[in-house]
Amino acid sequence: MFLIRIFLVSLFAYLFFGFLCIPFTIQGISMEPTYPDGGVNFCWRLRYLFSEPERHDVVAVRFAGSRVMLLKRVVAREGEQVEFRAGRLYVNGREIEEPYVHFPCNWNLPTRRVEKDCVYVVGDNRSMPIESHHFGQTSRVRIMGRPLW
Protein backbone atom coordinates (compact mmCIF):
# COMPACT_ATOMS: atom_id res chain seq x y z
CA MET A 1 0.00 0.00 0.00
CA PHE A 2 2.87 2.35 0.86
CA LEU A 3 4.56 1.66 -2.47
CA ILE A 4 1.33 2.37 -4.35
CA ARG A 5 1.06 5.72 -2.56
CA ILE A 6 4.67 6.55 -3.40
CA PHE A 7 4.00 5.61 -7.02
CA LEU A 8 0.84 7.75 -7.21
CA VAL A 9 2.51 10.77 -5.59
CA SER A 10 5.49 10.44 -7.95
CA LEU A 11 3.20 10.12 -10.96
CA PHE A 12 1.21 13.17 -9.90
CA ALA A 13 4.39 15.20 -9.30
CA TYR A 14 5.79 14.14 -12.68
CA LEU A 15 2.62 15.11 -14.56
CA PHE A 16 1.99 18.30 -12.58
CA PHE A 17 5.53 19.71 -12.68
CA GLY A 18 6.34 18.23 -16.07
CA PHE A 19 3.33 19.44 -18.04
CA LEU A 20 1.09 21.81 -16.04
CA CYS A 21 3.26 23.88 -13.75
CA ILE A 22 6.77 23.82 -15.14
CA PRO A 23 9.57 25.11 -12.90
CA PHE A 24 12.15 27.38 -14.51
CA THR A 25 15.06 29.61 -13.58
CA ILE A 26 15.43 33.06 -15.08
CA GLN A 27 18.66 33.68 -16.97
CA GLY A 28 19.24 37.20 -18.22
CA ILE A 29 18.23 40.73 -17.40
CA SER A 30 15.59 41.46 -20.05
CA MET A 31 12.69 41.40 -17.54
CA GLU A 32 14.40 43.33 -14.75
CA PRO A 33 13.43 44.67 -12.31
CA THR A 34 10.14 42.70 -12.41
CA TYR A 35 11.92 39.34 -12.73
CA PRO A 36 15.58 39.49 -11.66
CA ASP A 37 18.29 37.30 -13.15
CA GLY A 38 18.61 34.01 -11.29
CA GLY A 39 15.03 33.99 -9.98
CA VAL A 40 12.91 30.85 -9.84
CA ASN A 41 9.30 30.61 -10.96
CA PHE A 42 6.73 28.23 -12.44
CA CYS A 43 5.05 28.41 -15.85
CA TRP A 44 1.31 27.82 -15.43
CA ARG A 45 0.31 26.12 -18.68
CA LEU A 46 -3.48 26.33 -18.24
CA ARG A 47 -3.62 30.13 -18.02
CA TYR A 48 -4.47 30.66 -21.68
CA LEU A 49 -6.40 27.47 -22.29
CA PHE A 50 -9.71 29.33 -22.55
CA SER A 51 -8.55 32.93 -22.83
CA GLU A 52 -6.18 35.07 -24.81
CA PRO A 53 -3.18 36.99 -23.51
CA GLU A 54 -4.01 40.61 -22.65
CA ARG A 55 -1.82 43.67 -22.92
CA HIS A 56 0.61 43.91 -19.95
CA ASP A 57 0.44 40.14 -19.24
CA VAL A 58 3.81 38.50 -18.67
CA VAL A 59 4.02 35.32 -20.72
CA ALA A 60 6.45 32.47 -21.31
CA VAL A 61 7.23 32.13 -25.01
CA ARG A 62 8.56 28.78 -26.25
CA PHE A 63 11.95 29.62 -27.74
CA ALA A 64 13.50 26.24 -28.53
CA GLY A 65 12.34 22.71 -27.84
CA SER A 66 10.22 22.36 -24.74
CA ARG A 67 12.76 23.54 -22.22
CA VAL A 68 13.90 26.98 -23.34
CA MET A 69 11.41 29.81 -22.83
CA LEU A 70 11.57 33.57 -23.05
CA LEU A 71 9.85 35.58 -20.37
CA LYS A 72 8.29 38.67 -21.98
CA ARG A 73 5.43 41.13 -21.59
CA VAL A 74 2.60 41.36 -24.11
CA VAL A 75 2.28 44.95 -25.35
CA ALA A 76 0.01 44.50 -28.37
CA ARG A 77 -2.37 41.94 -29.85
CA GLU A 78 -3.20 40.91 -33.39
CA GLY A 79 -4.23 43.71 -35.72
CA GLU A 80 -2.81 46.44 -33.47
CA GLN A 81 -0.09 48.84 -34.58
CA VAL A 82 3.01 49.09 -32.40
CA GLU A 83 5.78 51.61 -32.37
CA PHE A 84 8.39 53.12 -30.07
CA ARG A 85 9.10 56.85 -30.05
CA ALA A 86 11.95 58.09 -27.86
CA GLY A 87 11.53 55.07 -25.64
CA ARG A 88 7.75 55.42 -25.24
CA LEU A 89 5.41 52.68 -26.40
CA TYR A 90 2.56 53.60 -28.75
CA VAL A 91 -0.20 51.21 -29.74
CA ASN A 92 -2.59 52.35 -32.49
CA GLY A 93 -1.07 55.82 -32.16
CA ARG A 94 -1.81 56.14 -28.44
CA GLU A 95 0.87 56.23 -25.81
CA ILE A 96 0.67 53.32 -23.38
CA GLU A 97 1.50 53.78 -19.74
CA GLU A 98 4.02 51.19 -18.60
CA PRO A 99 4.57 51.44 -14.83
CA TYR A 100 6.71 48.28 -14.91
CA VAL A 101 9.45 49.96 -17.01
CA HIS A 102 11.91 51.50 -14.57
CA PHE A 103 15.09 51.91 -16.57
CA PRO A 104 15.69 54.71 -19.09
CA CYS A 105 14.95 53.82 -22.71
CA ASN A 106 15.53 55.73 -25.95
CA TRP A 107 14.24 53.21 -28.50
CA ASN A 108 12.75 54.26 -31.79
CA LEU A 109 10.91 51.68 -33.88
CA PRO A 110 8.72 52.48 -36.89
CA THR A 111 5.08 51.41 -36.80
CA ARG A 112 4.30 47.78 -37.59
CA ARG A 113 1.04 45.86 -37.50
CA VAL A 114 0.80 42.67 -35.44
CA GLU A 115 -0.12 39.81 -37.76
CA LYS A 116 -3.02 37.41 -37.33
CA ASP A 117 -2.66 34.88 -34.48
CA CYS A 118 0.34 36.75 -33.11
CA VAL A 119 1.12 38.97 -30.14
CA TYR A 120 3.87 41.54 -29.72
CA VAL A 121 6.12 40.98 -26.71
CA VAL A 122 8.87 43.07 -25.15
CA GLY A 123 10.98 42.78 -22.00
CA ASP A 124 10.62 45.29 -19.15
CA ASN A 125 14.30 46.21 -19.18
CA ARG A 126 14.88 48.41 -22.23
CA SER A 127 18.03 50.08 -21.03
CA MET A 128 20.13 48.30 -23.65
CA PRO A 129 20.31 49.26 -27.36
CA ILE A 130 17.27 48.12 -29.34
CA GLU A 131 19.44 45.75 -31.42
CA SER A 132 20.56 43.83 -28.32
CA HIS A 133 17.09 43.15 -26.93
CA HIS A 134 15.09 40.06 -27.95
CA PHE A 135 11.58 41.32 -28.64
CA GLY A 136 8.95 41.36 -31.35
CA GLN A 137 5.99 39.57 -32.78
CA THR A 138 5.53 35.91 -31.95
CA SER A 139 2.95 33.32 -32.82
CA ARG A 140 0.15 32.77 -30.28
CA VAL A 141 0.83 29.02 -30.31
CA ARG A 142 4.31 29.63 -28.91
CA ILE A 143 2.89 31.09 -25.71
CA MET A 144 3.20 28.32 -23.16
CA GLY A 145 1.58 30.07 -20.22
CA ARG A 146 2.42 32.67 -17.63
CA PRO A 147 4.59 32.75 -14.52
CA LEU A 148 2.78 31.92 -11.28
CA TRP A 149 3.92 35.14 -9.61
Binding site: V61, R62, F63, A64, G65, S66, R67, V68, L70, L109, V121, H134, F135, G136, Q137, T138, R142
Partner: protein, 166 residues
Protein backbone atom coordinates in the same frame (compact mmCIF):
# COMPACT_ATOMS: atom_id res chain seq x y z
CA UNK B 1 6.80 -32.25 -22.65
CA UNK B 2 9.83 -32.31 -24.95
CA UNK B 3 7.78 -30.66 -27.74
CA UNK B 4 6.70 -27.94 -25.31
CA UNK B 5 10.34 -27.36 -24.37
CA UNK B 6 11.36 -26.97 -28.03
CA UNK B 7 8.41 -24.65 -28.60
CA UNK B 8 9.43 -22.41 -25.70
CA UNK B 9 13.05 -22.30 -26.87
CA UNK B 10 11.84 -21.44 -30.39
CA UNK B 11 9.62 -18.62 -29.15
CA UNK B 12 12.46 -17.30 -26.98
CA UNK B 13 14.87 -17.32 -29.93
CA UNK B 14 12.38 -15.48 -32.12
CA UNK B 15 11.93 -12.80 -29.40
CA UNK B 16 15.71 -12.44 -28.96
CA UNK B 17 16.07 -12.22 -32.76
CA UNK B 18 13.46 -9.44 -32.99
CA UNK B 19 15.08 -7.52 -30.11
CA UNK B 20 18.51 -7.86 -31.75
CA UNK B 21 17.21 -6.69 -35.13
CA UNK B 22 15.48 -3.69 -33.55
CA UNK B 23 18.41 -2.68 -31.34
CA UNK B 24 21.49 -3.64 -33.34
CA UNK B 25 20.48 -2.91 -36.93
CA UNK B 26 20.35 0.84 -37.43
CA UNK B 27 16.98 2.24 -38.46
CA UNK B 28 16.81 5.27 -40.73
CA UNK B 29 16.09 7.40 -37.67
CA UNK B 30 19.22 6.13 -35.97
CA UNK B 31 21.24 6.84 -39.10
CA UNK B 32 19.95 10.42 -39.16
CA UNK B 33 20.68 10.85 -35.44
CA UNK B 34 24.20 9.56 -36.02
CA UNK B 35 24.82 12.42 -38.48
CA UNK B 36 23.78 14.92 -35.82
CA UNK B 37 26.11 13.27 -33.31
CA UNK B 38 28.96 13.54 -35.79
CA UNK B 39 28.22 17.21 -36.43
CA UNK B 40 28.12 17.83 -32.69
CA UNK B 41 31.46 16.04 -32.18
CA UNK B 42 33.19 17.78 -35.04
CA UNK B 43 32.04 21.28 -34.16
CA UNK B 44 32.92 20.83 -30.46
CA UNK B 45 36.42 21.76 -29.45
CA UNK B 46 38.44 20.91 -26.37
CA UNK B 47 41.22 23.21 -25.14
CA UNK B 48 43.73 20.42 -25.77
CA UNK B 49 42.77 19.92 -29.43
CA UNK B 50 45.86 19.79 -31.63
CA UNK B 51 46.21 21.15 -35.18
CA UNK B 52 46.03 17.72 -36.79
CA UNK B 53 42.71 16.89 -35.09
CA UNK B 54 41.40 20.34 -35.96
CA UNK B 55 42.28 19.93 -39.64
CA UNK B 56 40.69 16.48 -39.77
CA UNK B 57 37.50 17.73 -38.10
CA UNK B 58 37.22 20.65 -40.51
CA UNK B 59 37.65 18.31 -43.47
CA UNK B 60 35.05 15.94 -42.02
CA UNK B 61 32.42 18.61 -41.31
CA UNK B 62 32.02 19.35 -45.02
CA UNK B 63 31.26 15.70 -45.76
CA UNK B 64 28.03 15.92 -43.75
CA UNK B 65 26.48 18.44 -46.14
CA UNK B 66 24.90 18.10 -49.53
CA UNK B 67 26.25 20.34 -52.24
CA UNK B 68 24.96 23.02 -52.24
CA UNK B 69 23.47 23.33 -48.78
CA UNK B 70 21.06 26.12 -47.91
CA UNK B 71 21.50 27.97 -44.63
CA UNK B 72 18.68 30.26 -43.52
CA UNK B 73 18.77 32.60 -40.57
CA UNK B 74 16.66 35.73 -40.40
CA UNK B 75 18.75 38.87 -40.37
CA UNK B 76 21.98 36.91 -40.41
CA UNK B 77 24.71 37.36 -42.99
CA UNK B 78 25.27 33.61 -42.91
CA UNK B 79 22.08 32.94 -44.93
CA UNK B 80 22.73 31.57 -48.39
CA UNK B 81 23.80 28.62 -50.45
CA UNK B 82 27.13 26.99 -49.61
CA UNK B 83 29.45 24.33 -50.98
CA UNK B 84 31.12 21.80 -48.70
CA UNK B 85 34.40 23.66 -48.91
CA UNK B 86 32.74 26.92 -47.93
CA UNK B 87 31.06 25.27 -44.94
CA UNK B 88 34.35 23.72 -43.81
CA UNK B 89 36.14 27.04 -44.24
CA UNK B 90 33.44 28.93 -42.33
CA UNK B 91 33.44 26.37 -39.51
CA UNK B 92 37.22 26.53 -39.33
CA UNK B 93 37.17 30.32 -39.18
CA UNK B 94 34.44 30.38 -36.52
CA UNK B 95 36.16 27.71 -34.39
CA UNK B 96 39.46 29.58 -34.50
CA UNK B 97 37.94 32.33 -32.33
CA UNK B 98 37.10 29.85 -29.60
CA UNK B 99 39.26 28.37 -26.89
CA UNK B 100 36.61 25.77 -26.11
CA UNK B 101 33.25 24.79 -27.71
CA UNK B 102 30.52 22.43 -26.61
CA UNK B 103 27.90 21.96 -29.32
CA UNK B 104 24.88 19.81 -28.45
CA UNK B 105 21.49 18.95 -29.90
CA UNK B 106 18.34 18.41 -27.83
CA UNK B 107 14.67 17.62 -28.45
CA UNK B 108 15.48 15.94 -31.76
CA UNK B 109 12.29 15.02 -33.63
CA UNK B 110 12.63 13.30 -36.98
CA UNK B 111 9.97 12.75 -39.63
CA UNK B 112 10.22 11.21 -43.09
CA UNK B 113 7.82 13.18 -45.31
CA UNK B 114 9.06 11.51 -48.51
CA UNK B 115 11.26 8.63 -49.49
CA UNK B 116 14.92 9.45 -48.82
CA UNK B 117 14.01 12.81 -47.27
CA UNK B 118 14.10 13.50 -43.53
CA UNK B 119 12.93 16.56 -41.67
CA UNK B 120 14.40 17.14 -38.23
CA UNK B 121 13.37 19.74 -35.68
CA UNK B 122 15.72 20.26 -32.78
CA UNK B 123 17.28 22.60 -30.28
CA UNK B 124 20.93 23.44 -30.85
CA UNK B 125 22.98 24.80 -28.00
CA UNK B 126 26.48 26.17 -28.35
CA UNK B 127 28.38 26.99 -25.19
CA UNK B 128 31.99 27.94 -25.12
CA UNK B 129 34.72 30.35 -24.29
CA UNK B 130 36.17 32.80 -26.78
CA UNK B 131 39.90 33.39 -26.93
CA UNK B 132 39.16 36.86 -25.56
CA UNK B 133 37.83 35.16 -22.42
CA UNK B 134 34.16 35.93 -23.11
CA UNK B 135 31.64 33.15 -22.39
CA UNK B 136 29.18 32.24 -25.15
CA UNK B 137 25.83 30.51 -24.65
CA UNK B 138 23.61 30.48 -27.75
CA UNK B 139 20.43 28.47 -28.23
CA UNK B 140 18.37 28.16 -31.40
CA UNK B 141 15.52 26.03 -32.65
CA UNK B 142 16.47 24.56 -36.01
CA UNK B 143 14.58 22.93 -38.86
CA UNK B 144 16.84 20.67 -40.89
CA UNK B 145 16.09 19.02 -44.19
CA UNK B 146 18.18 15.96 -44.94
CA UNK B 147 18.49 13.89 -48.08
CA UNK B 148 19.74 10.37 -48.55
CA UNK B 149 22.32 9.90 -51.28
CA UNK B 150 24.24 6.64 -51.74
CA UNK B 151 22.79 5.24 -48.48
CA UNK B 152 24.08 8.21 -46.46
CA UNK B 153 22.14 11.13 -45.00
CA UNK B 154 23.31 14.66 -45.79
CA UNK B 155 22.21 18.06 -44.53
CA UNK B 156 20.47 19.80 -47.41
CA UNK B 157 18.97 22.79 -45.61
CA UNK B 158 19.33 24.21 -42.12
CA UNK B 159 16.99 26.96 -40.99
CA UNK B 160 17.09 28.83 -37.69
CA UNK B 161 13.49 29.42 -36.59
CA UNK B 162 12.63 33.05 -36.04
CA UNK B 163 10.67 33.17 -32.78
CA UNK B 164 10.47 36.95 -32.40
CA UNK B 165 10.10 39.18 -35.43
CA UNK B 166 10.86 42.82 -34.72
Amino acid sequence: MVKMKYLLVGVLMVIIGIVLVVTVLPSEEKRVKKRFHLLSDWVSKSPEENSLTMLQKMKDIGTLFLEPCQLKAQGDSLSGSYTRQEISAYASSARSHFFEIDFKFYDLRIAFPEKEVAKATLTARLTGKLKTGEQVDEIRELDCLMKKVDRKWFFSQIEAIEVLKK
